[in-house]
Each structure stands twice: as C-alpha cells, then as structure tokens.
C-alpha cells in the first residue's frame, strides 16, 4: 500500500464513522476517545514497534501537553495557540534530554522501558507536590456557557472530533511518509539489529532520538487536546503509568509491526470496553472480558489483529 493510500483509507473510514455517529453526543464521545487513544498508541508504537524502543513513561509527554494547556489557561488565560506549541516544545525538549541520557549510556529493552517509567513517575510525584499545578487535586479549567472557539470551548462535540481526527490523520500521514523515507528504513533496521544498521551508516543515536522526539511531540499534542476537551487535568489521568500501559495494550492487540496497527487495537478495545460497561448488567463484567480478551489475544495473535489481517490478505 502506498502511503497515500493508507492515509486515504484511514481518512475515509474515520469520516464514515464520524458521519454515522455525529448525531449522537454519546457515540461521538466514544469516537473522540477512540481517536485520542488511537493516536497515542500509534505514536507510542512508532517507538516500540517500529524502532524497538519500548517506553513506559509516555504519560510524561501527554502530561506535559495537558498541563501546559491547563496551567496556561487557568493561570494566565493563554490561548491554545500559545499553550499547544508550548506543551509540544516542552515534550520534545524532555524527550531530547531523556533520550540523550538513555542512548548515550546504552539503555535498551526492559532497562530503557524502566528508565522512561522512572522519569514518568518522577514527573508524576513532582506535579503531585507542586502548588501552582494544583498538586494531586489537579486543575479545573474554566468553562463558559457560550462557545469560545479561541479557547477551544464548544458546546457540541463535533469540533473536538474534527480536531482529534485531524491530529490522528496527520500522525498517520507523517508516519507513513517517514516509513517510506530513509528515516523509516533506518528505524526498522535499528529495531532489528542495531549493530548491523550502524555498520551500514545509520547514526543510531540520532535516529532513535528523532523517533523519541517525534513521538513525544505527538503525545503532547494529544495531551493538549485532552485538557481542552475534558477541561480538567490531574496527575493520575495524564501522568500515571496506567496511561502508558494503555498505549502498550492497544499496540499489542492491534499489531506492532504496522504503523496503523495500534489504531486498530484502540478502535477495537476502546469502544468495546465502553459499550460492554454501558450495556452489561453485571458491574465489572467488562473488566473480566477485557482482561481475558487481552491475555488470549496476546497469546493467540502475537502479530496483532492488523498483522493477522494483513498476513491473511497477502496469502
């Protein structure tokens, strides 16, 4: 599939689903969160699945984006035009520093994962102790009774849906373009055999860093969106380990070898678990189904739903 075709397909599917649910706020909310988690999973997997860098601290970048927006608007009344780039800039800078340290000292595999987790946890506890960021209580962002497009405040949900869809499509578009360029080839080569890749002229540290920074920037973008949509941020929601683990789960279920695999994972699991919760009679029934499904899929479809589908389709 050419990159253009992937992007067109994803866009088409999103538009169809969007058209089908746009009349219903409840379904739109599910749609928005599916796109939100889908984007996060895709950019997480750019690192884990495509470059071989498993991060368990990605919530840190989401948190930087979300807190930039919440702090900017609650304390200074700044517009998203300022806070979104600020959040992304902070996240990219943080990824640069963390990446420089980790790659300089040769951290890989579980050790890289746990180092990123440690950075994320440090951020979590620091925010929990910082008065101006609302400590553990988080920050309530002002909500107006009228729409303020300049502050991304809308009564209806469709503007939010369009924003997150744009972010998602942009992420897939950038990702696909990169996958077909030198960068994408280098990432996959690094994932597989760093030593061989370096011998073939790949500057391992620079390209890993580039991947980390891109992924962090997109995560912050999602975080910024989250803050504007939910109008509330707290450490547990946007900085907790659970969020990082969610990205991992969607990627595994969707398929880590494909750029858009994690999107499939999110598109299956997010609505599935929400609908199960909303319609099942037994409280917690969804947890049981979700947990069992996760374990079974991870065991039986190691290449993920998308990977399985592609291999069936090719043969």
């Amino acid at each position: 599939m050419s990159s253009f075709r992937t992007v067109t397909m994803v866009t088409a599917v999103l538009l169809v689903v969007f058209a089908a649910v746009s009349g219903n706020r409840y379904y739109l909310d599910i749609f928005i969160f599916t796109c939100f988690y889908g984007t996060l999973a895709v950019c997480w997997n750019m690192m884990a699945g495509l470059t071989g860098l498993m991060s368990l601290g990605h919530a840190l970048f989401v948190g930087l984006g979300a807190y930039s927006v919440a702090w900017g608007v609650s304390v200074h009344g700044w517009s998203p035009l300022v806070t979104w780039p600020m959040g992304m800039g902070l996240a990219v800078a943080a990824a640069f520093v963390i990446g420089m340290l980790c790659f300089r000292y040769g951290l890989r595999g579980y050790f890289f994962a746990i180092a990123t987790l440690a950075f994320g946890e440090v951020a979590f506890f620091m925010v929990s102790a910082t008065e101006t960021l609302g400590r553990s209580d988080g920050m309530i962002m002002p909500i107006s009774s009228t729409d303020i497009p300049g502050q991304l405040q809308f009564f209806e949900k469709w503007p939010y849906a369009l924003i997150i869809m744009t972010i998602l499509i942009g992420t897939i578009g950038v990702g696909e373009a990169l996958m077909r360029s030198r960068t994408g080839y280098y990432w996959r080569a690094l994932r597989d055999n760093e030593q061989a890749a370096e011998a073939l002229g790949v500057n391992a540290r620079a390209f890993k860093l580039r991947c980390f920074m891109l992924s962090a920037g997109i995560s912050a973008l999602c975080g910024a969106f989250y803050a504007n949509y939910v109008a509330f941020v707290d450490p547990r929601s946007v900085l907790g380990v659970e969020l990082s683990i969610q990205m991992l789960v969607y990627s595994i279920v969707g398929g880590m070898s494909l750029l858009w695999g994690p999107l499939v994972g999110a598109a299956v699991l997010v609505p599935f678990s929400i609908l199960l919760r909303d319609y099942s009679a037994m409280p917690g029934g969804d947890i049981v189904v979700y947990a069992v499904l996760l374990a079974v899929l991870a065991l039986l479809l190691p290449q993920g739903i998308a990977g399985w589908f592609v291999s069936k389709w090719r043969t």
């Binding site: 077909r180 360029s181 030198r182 080839y185 280098y186 996959r188 080569a189 597989d192 055999n193 030593q195 061989a196 890749a197 370096e198 011998a199 073939l200 002229g201 790949v202 500057n203 391992a204 070898s257």
Partner: protein, 240 residues
C-alpha cells in the same frame, strides 16, 4: 603513496583480558588482504575496532590518511569502510531490495535514488531476480550475497569480510571467491577473515597472522603460510 588503511600499535583489552596487543599492518588500495589465525586470536575484535563497533584501548587506525579509531561505526561507514558480519541476519519484515536500500540511504538520502542505487547493486551481485523476496526466506548462500550487496551499497573503498565462506558448498564457495576477486577491479580493497588456507592463498596477496591477540607474522601470503610458527599455531589449534 600512503596505504589505504594503516593500523599502528592497535590494542584492545576487556578488563584484564588483552584481546589485541600492539597490532600493526597496512592495506593498499585495490588489494585483497587476509587476516588469519586460530579461533579466539582476536580477528573479530580487530574487525570491530576497524569498523568502530569497539573503541581501541590504544593505537591508531587511519583510513586514507585520516584517523578513524574511536569514531562511531556510522561515521566510519561514511568514510568508506564497510563490513559484513559472521552471523548474517537480514532486517526482518523487509524484502531483499529494502535490505539493500537501508545501506544505499547512506549515500542517497532520497528514497527514489536509494531504490535505484540498491537495484544497481543487486544487478551487480546477480540478485536482481530476488529483489522482491522476503529476506527471511533466503538460504545461507543468498544471505551471504545479500550481506555483500548491503555492504557494497554503502559504496566502500575498503570492505571487511568476516568468514564469508563458512557453511557454503564447494560451488557456492567458488562463486563467492569469484565475486570477491572482482572487487578490486571495482576499486574496492578487501580484508578477509578466513579459515581455509587454500582460499586465502588463492585470493590474497598479503596476509597478517594473529595469535592470542598478537601479530605472529605479516607479509606475502605464501611466505606467511610457510612460516613454521604459523603452521604450529594452526596445527595446535586443529588438534584441540
């Protein structure tokens, strides 16, 4: 004329273990040079130092007159030194062409040009018809060819080949030797690590013999092979 590669007083130790001590030799442009020695003599460590995968403890390495010791592998690659690995592992999930493309990107940043260059290399090594094949399905001989194709795609002046004949049949070996012999004509000097004495004698004009990390003998291949110390080192090794 300065030699293409100049190694002087190269040493490498891991903790207390001296993998290489005071190794010196040089390789001229357009030459096929052999590094021989029993197992554990330090041949792979030498390659790692030359290619930048390991930093030497002391000594200098010059490529085309410029020092490359301690440089990162990708920089050394850009300066025109390519290597192959003893254990060949293609990049998974990529076709043969894509594998070569990874290497071609080092000279051609645009995807289009890299594809053209990679295809040209595949033509050159006679793998054009395998271009679209999933690299994981190749057999040993094809994997070795792919390994050479990848190295060539980085457009090296000097190519390090690590045991390229191991596990190949006689016919495959002969074809591979023929391939190696052509490299100097394409302007590429070669260093081979090889066990088979007949192959070394037929391919290489000069050789260096390593034993326990030290240079045992250096010079024209025939003279080196005839050295009784070298014989002993090899025989001693063969008996164990």
């Amino acid at each position: 004329m300065t030699p293409l590669l100049e190694v002087q007083g190269l040493s490498k130790s891991f903790g207390g273990l001296h993998a290489l001590s005071d190794v010196s030799f040089d390789v001229a442009a357009g030459e096929i040079f052999a590094v021989i020695g029993p197992n554990g003599a330090g041949k792979t460590t030498l390659f790692n130092c030359l290619a930048g995968a390991a930093a030497p403890t002391s000594g200098t390495i010059r490529l085309g007159g410029e020092r490359i010791d301690g440089r990162a592998p990708h920089e050394i690659c850009h300066r025109g030194l390519a290597r192959t690995f003893q254990l060949v592992k293609p990049f998974r999930g990529m076709t043969v062409l894509e594998n070569v493309k990874v290497a071609a990107f080092s000279r051609h940043p645009s995807a289009k040009q890299a594809t053209t260059a990679a295809q040209a290399v595949l033509d050159r090594v006679g793998m054009a018809e395998l271009a679209a094949v999933d690299a994981e399905t190749l057999n040993v001989a094809q994997l070795r060819q792919l390994e050479i194709a990848r190295a060539l795609a980085t457009q090296p002046q000097l190519l390090l080949l690590d045991e390229m004949l191991a596990g190949l049949t006689a016919t495959e070996s002969a074809a591979m030797c023929e391939r190696i012999r052509q490299l100097p004509r394409e302007g590429i000097a070669v260093i081979v690590v090889e066990h088979s004495i007949p192959v070394v004698t037929s391919l290489c004009s000069r050789a260096v013999v390593l034993c326990f990390g030290k240079v045992l003998r250096r010079g024209a291949t025939r003279e080196v092979i005839a050295d009784p110390r070298v014989q002993e080192a090899y025989l001693g090794n063969a008996q164990t």
